[in-house]
């Protein structure tokens, strides 16, 4: 292959061939001879104490593990330490009680069904609004909201709700563990090998060097394999510890994956907005997230969520209260957008509702309030770089013929009614606040071999988003060598340094920049035929205003990626069916490291976001999820959202590799508010919840 002239020009993805031929080995593809199977016993009640577990007589070689078998601490270390590996004090339907292990899967399943569990039930809480257990509680104060509200000429209020969303990656969670020669080997489907490493070492008490985590080819993550695999890894490790040298494998059925693994937090937001002379001068917002049974990622999801509660707007006086409360439901965790989709939905709808009351077009009203370079963020940090929203908006409004359609769709009477909607959002790139500097402290290495090939050593996980290809391109371009001479494997913690988790849209901007710097250094030190190792450490950008995480003051993010989306709908008033004739979206993610890959991220993210807005409803009642199957939890097919047009606005970021920022999560933020705005337009009403389903449409129409 010739050297790359332009980093954005796409190259064939390096895992393309092994995946398309079916040769790629996912964890479920390992031969199971000599392997034990595990099946996890889960709580059938939402809250209570396990009085007894009665096992059937187990054949030779079959055994059961529970909390008493955890070698060191019965804790899965995530952010905090409240998630148990196994528990007898169950807090949600699906909470793991123990695991039965044996060689024959069919026999194991029969035995499993004979296990009897007796509980003493306690009163569960299912509604976060009525939960007295506050996991996290934060406040943002900017300017003087009291003065703003007393000086206002209009005050608007709104309540907004968003539902659970299931990741529904095609490959369910699965993990294999083996305890051999004093070392614990765990491999499987995951986003964050070092999260598993820390958790397994903590639970087993093994020294870090005796815990080896390896990522297998991973069939999609979207955040769903950020925190959850740590839980499963600890469970299989406990079983492997007892299995005396035998490998233990757990592969979830679809139903088990839906019952047991994390979801997007449901949210309840209330807004109070003060206006003077048609401009927003103050805002008071309350952001409540339903955390589920354990804290898992809720702290960081809440931080990102409530920081974004003012959207992309310049609002001088601001008071935001964020809290995450416990319920006796499956723990909610990371999901593409990470709290952003909830508050961006709320603020975007709030903006449309204010403009409707004022009788002006919502896109114009929003544009009037866009933050610009130099303005203060909600946390009194700064938008250090140009905010390209005005240009992107003009482009998307023109592409979608927004104003003309919006006018034409007023006062429709026929069976089919059209509507058009618009949203403008950002995604702050990397960990919130000082996370990258104080918690993650990313390290990367490049190893040049004697044959002058160069291996990239990071803990970033390829899960379909193309990071192994984009990293290869970055290193090849920086070294000016053909990509064929760059080697990258799936991470193995015994071989790669901890460059942090594969989350927060940070891989390219943070880790990618580190390997670019390493490559630059290697280039300057290059010695043909010699082995060389170059290591780079994270450096906090010097322009950042220090972040005070007690008072939420300072730069929460070094920079932002931006998205503007317009969605058109056509509603069948006889059935409530919502068709999507068109979607137009513009993104600024800085330089595209690979055009095809970024387009694929944007298109895939938009489709998930539209699903979140109008299709994907996780039917949970009293902690019990009734739609556990793919025929019931509806995700989009190829026929649902065919007309998506993606364009880019490139504002290069000085601290990102070749000018790149973060991309992965951004497209999941703006689709839902845009589609809801379009539905509002079609029905000539105001809406305040997602998902908004045909049933909801019919309810509006029958009013």
């Amino acid at each position: 292959m010739i050297r790359m002239k332009n980093i954005s020009t796409s190259m064939q993805k390096i895992d393309h061939f092994e995946k398309i031929t079916g040769k790629a080995k996912y964890v479920c593809d390992y031969p199971t001879t000599d392997m034990l199977h595990g099946r996890i016993l889960r709580s059938s009640i939402a809250y209570g104490v396990v009085n007894s577990v009665t096992l059937p007589e187990l054949p030779d070689g079959y055994f059961y593990v529970d909390k008493n078998d955890v070698p060191a601490v019965n804790v899965v270390h995530i952010v905090q330490d409240d998630t148990p590996v196994f528990t007898h004090h169950v807090k949600y339907i699906g909470d793991p009680i123990g695991m039965i292990v044996g060689s024959d899967e069919l026999v194991l399943n029969e035995l499993f069904h004979e296990i009897k569990v007796e509980y003493k039930e306690q009163t569960p809480i299912f509604d976060a609004r009525h939960s007295g257990v506050v996991f996290f509680d934060y406040n943002i104060n900017k300017g003087d909201t009291d003065a703003a509200f007393s000086g206002a000429d209009h005050i608007f209020e709104g309540d907004y709700e968003t539902g659970l969303q299931e990741h529904m990656y095609l490959e369910t969670n699965a993990m294999i563990a083996e305890y051999k020669d004093g070392k614990m080997y765990v491999h499987g489907s995951m986003q964050c090998p070092y999260y598993l490493h820390g958790a397994v070492a903590h639970a087993t008490g093994l020294a870090p060097e005796n815990v080896i985590i390896r990522q297998d080819v991973t069939g999609g993550g979207f955040g769903g394999k950020e925190d959850y695999p740590s839980v499963l890894a600890c469970q299989v490790a406990v079983a492997a510890y007892k299995a005396k040298g035998k490998k233990v494998r757990v592969v979830f059925s679809r139903e088990e994956d839906v019952i047991a693994t994390s979801k997007r937090h449901p949210s309840f937001c209330t807004y109070k907005v003060a206006l003077k002379d048609g401009k927003i001068i103050g805002m008071i917002s309350d952001v409540l997230l339903d955390a589920g049974a354990y804290t898992t990622m809720s702290m960081v999801v809440l931080q990102r969520s409530f920081i974004a509660a003012a959207g992309v707007y310049d609002i001088p006086n601001l008071q935001i209260h964020g809290h995450a409360r416990q319920t006796n439901t499956v723990p909610n965790g990371a999901f593409r957008g990470f709290g952003g989709p909830q508050t961006f939905f709320a603020i975007e709808m709030m903006m449309t509702h204010i403009s409707r009351e004022l009788g002006i077009d919502s896109a114009d009203f929003k544009m009037k309030h866009f933050a610009k370079q130099g303005d203060l963020t909600s946390t009194c940090g700064k938008y250090h770089f140009p905010v390209p929203l005005p240009d992107m908006t003009k482009d998307i409004l023109a592409q979608s013929d927004y104003h003309k359609k919006k006018e034409a769709y007023k006062n429709q009477k026929g069976r089919y009614r059209k509507g058009i909607g618009f949203s403008a959002v950002f995604h702050g790139v990397g960990f919130t606040g000082n996370g990258e500097r104080d918690k993650i402290k990313a390290v990367v290495s490049l190893r040049k071999n004697t044959d002058d090939t160069v291996e990239i050593l990071t803990s970033s996980a390829e899960m379909g988003q193309g990071v192994n290809t984009t990293f290869t391109k970055i290193v090849a371009a920086a070294l000016e060598i053909p990509p064929e001479r760059v080697i990258i494997n799936l991470p193995d913690t015994s071989r790669v340094p901890d460059s942090g988790p594969t989350v927060a849209s940070r891989s390219i901007m943070i880790v990618g920049e580190l390997i670019r710097r390493a490559a630059e250094r290697l280039k300057s030190l290059w010695k043909d035929g010699e082995e060389q190792i170059i290591t780079e450490h994270y450096e906090h950008p010097d322009f950042m205003i220090p972040f005070d995480s007690e008072n939420y003051k300072g730069d929460a993010y070094p920079t932002y990626s931006w998205a503007v989306t317009a969605v058109e709908v056509e509603i069948d008033t006889l059935t409530g069916y919502i068709a999507i004739p068109g979607v137009w979206a513009s993104f600024d993610v800085g330089t595209l490291i690979d055009e095809n890959i970024v387009i694929g991220q944007m298109e895939g993210g938009i489709v998930q976001s539209l699903g979140y807005g109008m299709m994907e409803k996780c039917a949970i009642r009293n902690g019990h999820i009734s739609n556990k199957k793919l025929c019931d939890y509806i995700i989009p097919t190829a026929l649902d959202f065919p007309n998506i047009k993606v364009s880019f606005f490139v504002d290069k970021y000085i601290k990102g590799p070749f000018g790149a920022k973060g991309a992965g999560e951004l497209p999941h933020v703006g689709g839902a508010p845009a589609v809801l705005d379009a539905i509002q337009n079609a029905l000539d009403t105001m809406l305040n919840k997602v998902p908004f389903m045909p049933e909801d449409i019919m309810e509006v129409l029958s009013c």
Binding site: Q12, K13, D15, H16, F17, K19, I20, T21, G22, K23, A24, Y26, C28, D29, T32, H167, Y169, L170, E171, T172, V217, G220, F222, S253, R254, R415, G464, Q465, T573, L574, T575, G576, Y577, D594, N596, I597, I599, G600, E603, G604, V607, Q608, M615, N627, K629, L630, C631, I634, I635, T637, A638, L639, D640, F641, P642, I644, P694, E695, M698, S702
Partner: protein, 440 residues
């Protein structure tokens, strides 16, 4: 009659399977043959990650019982990836980076092959249709659709994938209908045609099946003076592609699930599973079709309406099989059909409606309406519809209010995946629209 050993062709090689005939092809491919390209995403025929080609047709291998494979040719991604046609698709997918996590991709490639071998120059809609049973959570499908378009534009002279030409499988002699009926009399084997419903159940492994999917008498579509006669084991794809099938039935069959399910599922199965959501059964109901039901010693013809006894009870004896569905030949052209699902493919009816209005010389000769997915069986109230029969349009208009009032009372939905009120609203809206578009 368990059809073992099962002799079939796998990726061009003869093979014999001697294990449990009720096991799923997917599990057998992955464990017995170490062919792990077909993935398990759901075990219910919903995701398509386990797609294979069976006799050139796209099939979900999780819904295939091994015993049904006798004499078939199975191609998996491992076999297909050695063909020239694969190379074209592979390069096309590469050129737009259509592969992300990859878990759906082997199935997606086989769906692409099946689509292009049947339709070398598909429109974008046809491409989306062709892969509509293959869920992908990463790409949003655009890149995959583009890739298939590129592959279609690449001049490709390689013959469609058929590894069968190398070996003609030793086909276990097919059962005749009479033999199958004798087995119905003497055993309690469960009739198995397409497997798309039976194999969804977790307990399918313990069941013993009577394979009737290949019985020639059950696979024909013929006509007599008054009827189109559909063999009960005709697949939905067969019905769609047959020129005798009326448009109302084709439209309903085209809306069923996705290609792989339509290639396997049968109309007889759709009726015999008793579901109120059965899309083709709704059409047989609204057209007042009849069922030819046989046992080894007798036969009877009953209106399909008399087949459903309510509460999942069916008018069929353990020694019988549905042999044919007899659909009236005439008066079906002016129809109204609407299935309300949760998405545009792979959807289970939330509510469905079919209506037929046959107006000749200004007089309503026939008016028939049926609702699906409202209660536990498909509903059809011909005593209400009779109100309009024999009337002209103006007379019908005068009776409209009464007609609606009767339906308003008669249609009492149950809560399912959607609310009672939603179902009711949709039913009444569609009923009104049905008459309005006919000028009533």
């Amino acid at each position: 009659m368990l059809n073992t050993p099962v002799k079939f062709i796998l990726n061009g090689e003869k093979t014999e399977y001697t294990g449990n005939p009720s096991h799923r092809l997917l599990d057998v491919l992955r464990s017995d043959y170490s062919l792990t390209g077909a993935k398990c995403g759901c075990k219910e025929g919903e995701c398509g990650a386990c797609s294979v080609l069976i006799d050139g047709k796209l099939i979900n291998s999780c819904l295939v019982s091994m015993g049904s494979l006798s004499g078939s040719s199975v191609v998996t991604i491992e076999g297909y990836s050695k063909t020239a046609r694969f190379d074209t698709l592979e390069k096309a997918y590469a050129s737009v980076s259509a592969v992300q996590c990859g878990f759906c991709i082997p199935g997606m490639i086989l769906a692409s092959e099946c689509l292009l071998s049947n339709n070398p120059n598909p429109t974008e809609y046809e491409i989306r249709e062709g892969i509509s049973g293959n869920l992908c959570r990463c790409t949003g499908y655009n890149a995959i659709v583009k890739a298939i378009g590129i592959a279609a534009d690449t001049k490709n002279t390689a013959p469609a994938c058929d590894c069968k030409h190398n070996h003609e499988a030793e086909r276990t002699p097919l059962l005749s209908l009479q033999e199958a009926l004798e087995l119905r009399k003497t055993t309690n084997l469960i009739p198995y045609a397409g497997g798309t419903d039976l194999m969804v159940s977790e307990s399918s492994l313990e069941k013993k099946f009577l394979y009737i999917g290949n019985i020639p008498e059950l696979k024909q579509i013929t006509e007599d003076e008054k009827h189109i006669r559909f063999g009960a084991a005709c697949t939905f794809t067969q019905v769609i592609n047959n020129k005798l099938s009326p448009e109302i039935l084709k439209e309903a069959c085209r809306g069923i699930a996705a290609p792989a399910i339509r290639n396997a599922g049968t109309i007889g199965g759709n009726i015999a599973n008793g579901s109120a959501k059965a899309d083709s059964a709704l059409i047989f109901m609204v057209t007042d079709s009849k069922l030819l039901i046989k046992s080894a010693d007798s036969e009877r013809i009953i209106p399909i309406r008399d087949f459903y006894l309510g509460d999942k009870k069916l008018n069929i004896n353990p020694n019988e099989l549905i042999v044919e569905i007899l659909m009236p030949k005439h008066g079906l052209d002016n129809y109204y059909y609407k299935k309300v699902g949760a998405r545009n493919a792979l959807s289970i009816a939330r509510t469905s409606f079919a209506g037929i209005l046959d107006i000749q010389d200004g007089i309503i000769k026939n008016c028939a309406v049926a609702f699906g997915a409202v209660i536990d069986t498909i509903i059809r109230f011909d005593h209400i519809d009779k109100k309009l029969i024999g009337k002209n349009t103006d007379e019908a208009k005068a009776l409209k209010a009464e007609y609606f009032a009767m339906y308003d009372e008669a249609v009492v939905p149950r809560r399912g995946r959607v609310s009672v009120q939603y179902r009711k609203n949709v039913c009444m809206n569609l009923l009104k629209d049905f008459l309005e578009v006919n000028g009533i």
